[in-house]
Symmetry: C2
Subunit: 339 residues, 2 copies
DNA sequence: CTGAAAGCGCTTACAG
DNA sequence: CTGAAAGCGCTTACAG
């Protein structure tokens, strides 16, 4: 099957532009880079010729020669959770605005996949990586990526003792605030719903415990319902919590999707959130504004977190050897009808 | 600030491997490509040397020379809508499994951004593009991208008269089924909520109208509430619909997030979906299984749609000049408590 | 301010 | 089965 010649023109190179503008290819290259070394006249002539011919810059060739690149790898553990989708949108928005391009991958909590995509990104010579690691990622991963010479920003889930750039939120303080609020509203028995493992879980559970302690309330293991951090997990956990005696009348949730699942379980039982039982989520995803009823939550502004993460990494690219960078979102209570 | 030499080793090339294995660099290259031209012995020796040295393949250099690449551009109009997030996850899963890498961008319905990222992807020499175009994208965009020599798959929103690869769903049939179902359940006055423009909107509205007509019901403009295809749009539209007289008792929604917003509005009015008013969504996003109450919807399996889209594009890469490829998801009713 | 030359790290005919 | 050479499309010293 021969292609019609018109459909397969040899792609234009700077040599073609050089000929058309009657200069050398070095000059074209300099013009394309906006170098001040070239006179305004020459520059304009070259630019015009390039436009006329329909020349397309070959970033690959340039990157190879320059040993640089403008692609950033973003690897997310669970994009099905709207929280991460919103974070990703924030990251991508910032990256694109700064002239970078986003190489994205969803690992779905698989360590194997994570390793695979990280390797792939390395081969592609990404300029930097933003990683929200799968659960149980060993802290040495940080050192490994660093040994590759690729700047890394760890997102949300911290890995070991620090020594790396990080963007996340103050999880302990978030659940502390949420719990304290519910206690102050007169709930003596407040449950904790969902989540099972990982630093984020540990911190959020700790904040809950601290608040109970601070307000002189005994902790009751029956009120802490470990469950998958999903809608279904939240749904099932709430149903379990309802069996506790004496009954709980409110619950702090590991995150918003768990809280949404809990809302569904309440509805299933004919209970109305905010009247019969109080629920508070964590993250501040968009969905919470129009759930039934609208969900109170600990807002850490997912989109802002994503943008901050991207900014930090870009900052790191500018200053490869400055001190550790970090962003910790300050949680704030977003009170709606579910409490 | 001098870097310690150990931290900045000159990156290894096939030349280093060649020297270590005592062969020429062509041989190394062939081994790396798994060529059958090389003896098992030599091949093993080279592979061992590469591993020992910690050699990393430079895909960029290879791609430049080979004029190929394994990056696919995916541009989505609204990643904040879980439907598209789920589609993206499906696409990425398939692409990664096939050894490709995903260059992703969210245009947020901005034509300017769309143009910018498309240009950027072109410079990066992506092997193909999956595009869910922003509203009002002119059909000539298809021709333009094709003139770049980059295989394009149009996602969800068709553009003009065809002549391109496409993955989407049978929107007209979807709303037809939904409307018919509600009518059969004894709702003489069924509303249509949300959406404002675009082919998808037109088709879904048409399906609704067809079903009314088919079942001898008059169409009432007061029951069709145009609104932004968002939770808030659905919320506001339902509140409007409630004012209609005689009252509607059920509504087909443009998509699931509109339906979720409608559910919130119902709750706000003290109404219970499925008892006082029936709501049916469209898409089949995960959220619907645990909304309050769980939402009936027209399921087009977003994840499956994403995978199909990726498969089609990969197929196209194998066969550049075969006939037009397309996938149209067959909608099925997923009945839950909201109806 | 501009041009000739070398080189980024690969692949691919072409000999042998 | 293996090696020497040219080339992918750029950038970057280096002369002039």
């Amino acid at each position: 099957m021969r292609k019609p010649p018109a459909n397969a023109p040899r792609p234009l190179t700077i040599m073609d532009v050089a000929r058309a503008a009657d200069v050398s290819k070095s000059t074209v290259s300099l013009v394309l880079q906006g170098s001040p070394l070239i006179s305004e006249q020459t520059s304009a002539r070259v630019r015009k010729a390039a436009a006329r011919l329909g020349y397309v810059y070959n970033r690959r060739a340039a990157d190879l020669r320059r040993k640089s690149g403008n692609a950033i790898g973003v690897v997310i553990n669970d994009l099905m959770n709207p929280f991460f989708a919103e974070v990703l949108v924030g990251i991508e928005r910032k990256l694109t605005a700064a002239g970078y391009i986003t190489l994205m991958s969803n690992t779905n909590e698989s360590a194997d996949l994570q390793e695979k995509v990280l390797r792939s990104m390395r081969e592609h010579h990404v300029a930097g990586i933003i990683l929200c690691p799968v659960l149980d990622t060993p802290p040495r991963l940080v050192k490994q990526v660093r040994s590759w010479g690729i700047p890394l920003l760890v997102l949300v889930r911290s890995l070991g003792m620090g020594g790396y750039d990080y963007a996340g939120s103050d999880n302990e303080r978030g659940t502390y605030l949420a719990t304290e609020y519910l206690v102050a509203r007169g709930h003596p028995r407040v449950g904790f719903l969902g989540g099972q493992t990982g630093v984020v879980f540990d911190d959020r559970l700790r904040g809950y415990r601290q608040a109970l302690k601070k307000h002189g309330l005994a902790e009751d293991a029956a009120l802490i319902r470990i469950a998958k951090p999903s809608r279904q997990g939240g749904h099932d956990a709430l149903l379990d919590l309802l069996k506790a005696a004496p009954p709980a009348t409110a619950a702090v949730c590991y995150n918003d999707i768990v809280a949404l699942g809990a809302l569904a379980a309440l509805g299933e039982r004919g209970l109305i959130a905010g009247r019969d039982f109080s629920i508070i989520g964590f993250d501040g995803i968009l969905d919470t504004a129009y759930s039934n009823p609208p969900l109170s939550t600990v807002d850490i502004r997912p989109g802002g977190l994503g943008e901050a993460a991207a900014s930090l990494l870009l900052e790191r690219l500018q200053h490869p050897s400055s001190g550790r960078l970090s962003y910790v979102a300050e949680p704030s209570l977003l009170l709606r009808q579910s409490t």
